[in-house]
């Protein structure tokens, strides 16, 4: 009896512990069903786009069925923070959707589990290279193969609270402004409002883009190697942490779990400036807590190198059983009409022909309550895109971003030196 009790305790303890570990085999399966009968249902996973965005993409999914009556799209969404973790689990358990939404930063990690869209698949998708922004296509390539067709192109911009600038008696910034002007404006607003004017962040693109604009520093080399301890990156990161530790003009994340701190604090009206992507040009105004929003290029240092671009698109998982149909569906989801609809709901398009629709959408929906915004966005996206360089990530980028949040908290609060924080990320994150 005693032995039985002990064995039960052992088994129970073991199960509780091991429940956390994952056991799964990469058995082929697919999100496409019913291919033999001619009709297929394709699963399509996407990160949540907000109410308006979700509705737009659902409508576009129905356009796929309108063009190809044998294809039905089943769209499921997850919050962006959970999307790639969920996708990994789905790939591990053989339940990955046929059509996967992919961000350029995550492509190096997921390329192995995707099928390149070339040859017959490119033909099925109706892909013609000349219709696209070259940079947008390149960002979704891995080893020179196109793994996803982009639906948008994003650059990193500086959003600012027009009302806060006005209240502090500071002139609104203009495209091409410098880091000195940025620091000076932040100091004046901090003094006038009594709270930090700028919001720091752990978000990879946001923080890295500001460092690139400061002195051209990049966290990853062009060959995909992590280089956090590169002298240029160290210098830029020291400047960035100093905004909080020395100049006291910056609000820092409350904990390592608050990855998108600055951008959230901006929308909530707690800080006057924050870096965010052009994918939020519309939502940052509609979600702003009762203030007028402006947008400008990232402040440039003497050796600044513009901004980072990143984009997202749709690809095919390697376990998909109906790849041709998936390519046809992606063709519809990224065609000129779809990009017009997507652009109209606030996504900066990857097809050059859809850019006017992007600006017209803002003119119609945003300008009445935030005058002059569409014009500002047109100018800033043009200026940023002209100087944007694609963000290159490592194949273990999710791990690196987790380490950044853990280690940079210490540096932002002055509990460790910027050099130590970078060294720790480099040591644990380098493959």
């Amino acid at each position: 009896m005693k032995l039985a009790k002990k064995l039960t305790a052992i088994a129970l303890g073991g199960a509780l512990v091991l429940g956390a570990s994952a056991c799964g085999a990469s058995t082929p399966s697919g999100g496409g069903e019913g291919a033999a009968a001619g009709n297929v249902t394709l699963d399509w996973s996407f990160w949540a786009q907000g109410d308006e965005g979700n509705k737009t993409w659902k409508d576009l999914a129905s356009q796929v069925t309108a063009k190809y009556p044998n294809i039905t799209i089943n769209l499921t969404t997850a919050p962006f923070a959970d999307y790639f973790t969920k996708l990994q689990s789905q790939l591990a358990s053989g339940t990955a959707p046929c059509i996967v939404s992919m961000q350029s930063l995550r492509l190096p990690a997921f390329a192995k589990a995707m099928t390149p869209i070339d040859g017959d698949l490119a033909k099925a998708a109706g892909f013609t290279e000349s219709e696209w922004d070259g940079g947008a296509l390149k960002a979704l390539q891995n080893g020179d193969k196109q793994y996803a067709l982009p639906y948008g192109l994003s650059t990193m911009l500086m959003y600012y609270n027009k009302d806060a600038f006005k209240a502090a008696g500071v002139d609104e910034p203009k495209d091409g402004w410098t880091t000195d002007e940025f620091v000076s404006a932040a100091e004046k607003i901090t003094k006038a409002t009594g709270k930090p004017a700028f919001g720091q962040t752990f978000s990879d693109l946001h923080m890295s883009a500001q460092l690139l604009a400061y002195n051209g520093a990049k966290p990853v080399s062009d060959s995909g190697e992590l280089q956090m301890t590169d002298p240029a990156f160290e210098s830029a990161f020291t400047w960035y942490t100093g905004l909080a530790t020395d100049k006291k003009i910056s609000s820092i994340p409350a904990s390592s779990a608050d990855v998108p701190w600055g951008e959230q604090q901006f929308v909530a009206g707690n800080v006057a400036m924050a870096v965010d992507g052009s994918w939020n040009v519309k939502s940052n105004v509609t979600d702003a807590a009762g203030f007028k929003v402006g947008v400008v290029t990232l402040p440039q240092g003497p050796d600044g190198a513009g901004t980072f671009s990143a984009n997202s698109g749709f690809g095919i998982s390697s376990t998909c059983k109906s790849k041709t149909e998936a390519a046809q569906a992606i063709g519809v989801l990224t065609d000129a009409t779809s990009q017009m609809a997507s652009a109209n709901s606030g996504n900066q398009p990857a097809r050059t022909a859809a850019i006017p629709a992007f600006i017209d959408g803002l003119k119609k929906d945003i300008d009445p309550k935030n005058p002059g915004y569409s014009e500002q966005v047109a100018a800033v996206t043009k200026a940023s895109s002209a100087k944007a360089v694609p963000f290159i990530s490592t194949s273990n980028w999710d791990k690196v971003t987790k380490l950044m949040a853990q280690q940079f908290q210490q540096a932002y609060s002055g509990k460790s030196s910027p050099q130590d924080a970078l060294k720790n990320v480099q040591q644990s994150g380098a493959k």
């Binding site: 052992i10 303890g13 073991g14 570990s21 994952a22 904990s255 987790k402 509990k415």
Partner: protein, 310 residues
């Protein structure tokens, strides 16, 4: 009046084979009752355990080729840059803090609640955090702790001081998380102790009073020893759940600042589902399994000396 004796009841003829038949029937019934749980144990506990042990000896990416790794996954846990050592130390520290604080608080509150006329109300109130989703409470506590949150604002308005960023400072983050875990798990053990206190044999308590045992003497010499089976159960369960800590630090601090709140289960989760390395994730899971097994066995062996079942 007719006296009814057993002799008046007509007896059936005794079948010599009956005990054997009954025994056979009992065995079948026992098998019937045991099979569902045995199948469940095998499918959901035994097989995954064996699979996890096997996985820990392989390079097992989420997608890609699987190859035999020998003991590499275990060696890599202690390589420079690995967070496992910090996670293991943190997990032990969490356990050493959570278990005694939880037991002392819940036991003393249970005695207080048992003597209160509103004992049922208190039990419900104290149990509410247990049935509240962990993630929801962790998010709320994160907001309470953050600069300009409830705690900071109250301190500022009452005393004119700002608290340090409790979750953003490596010297306070772990303690701040411990407070939330103790608060959340408090009601469960308190309910167990309350039930045990209600079941204390009144005759023994009365006898101890006649023998002159009152107050602290009665508590320490009579009541606590009678509660030791419940204390043993609560200690074992609380310790196992403390070793498996994940949700609260994951939601509140994501393991930071630095590695100050990383736990072993968080390390397992991140290695498996963020880094995509299932084999490397299985290795710390096995080590934690063995650790819990050893500590639980020690508790089982040690209970003979301090747990009183009679």
């Amino acid at each position: 009046m007719t006296a009814i004796t057993t002799n008046t009841v007509p007896r059936r003829d005794v079948d010599p084979a009956a005990p054997k038949k009954r025994k056979k029937n009992d065995s079948r019934a026992a098998l019937g009752f045991l099979t569902p749980s045995a199948v469940g144990m095998t499918v959901f506990i035994l097989l995954p355990t064996i699979l996890a042990i096997a996985t820990s000896f392989f390079n097992w990416p989420t997608f890609g080729e699987i190859s035999f790794a020998g003991l590499d996954n275990y060696r890599n846990l202690f390589a420079p840059g690995s967070q496992f050592t910090a996670a293991l130390i943190n997990t032990v520290v969490f356990t050493l803090l959570i278990v005694p604080i939880n037991l002392v608080l819940t036991l003393s509150t249970a005695f207080w609640v048992a003597s209160s006329r509103f004992s049922r109300l208190y039990r419900v109130l104290f149990f509410l955090p247990v049935v509240t989703p962990t993630v929801a409470t962790a998010v709320i506590w994160k907001l309470i702790y953050q600069p300009n949150g409830i705690v900071d604002s109250t301190m500022n308005s009452l005393f004119g001081i700002h608290l340090p960023n409790l979750l953003g400072d490596s010297s306070t983050a772990l303690i701040a998380v411990v407070v939330v875990i103790v608060w959340q798990g408090f009601g469960y053990n308190m309910l167990i102790f309350s039930a045990a206190i209600d079941q204390l044999p009144q005759d023994i308590i009365d006898a101890s009073k006649l023998d002159g045992a009152h107050g602290l003497t009665q508590l320490m010499r009579i009541k606590i020893p009678l509660l030791t089976p419940a204390i043993f159960f609560a200690t074992t369960v609380t310790m196992i759940s403390a070793f498996q800590l994940f949700s609260e630090p994951f939601v509140m601090t994501a393991g930071g600042p630095g590695t100050s709140t990383v736990t072993v289960v968080m390390n397992v989760y991140q290695t498996a589902f963020q880094d995509g390395e299932l084999g490397a994730a299985a290795a710390p899971a096995i080590i934690l399994f063995v650790l819990i097994l050893i500590v639980t066995l020690i508790q089982w062996i040690g209970q003979k000396k301090w747990v009183h079942y009679d």
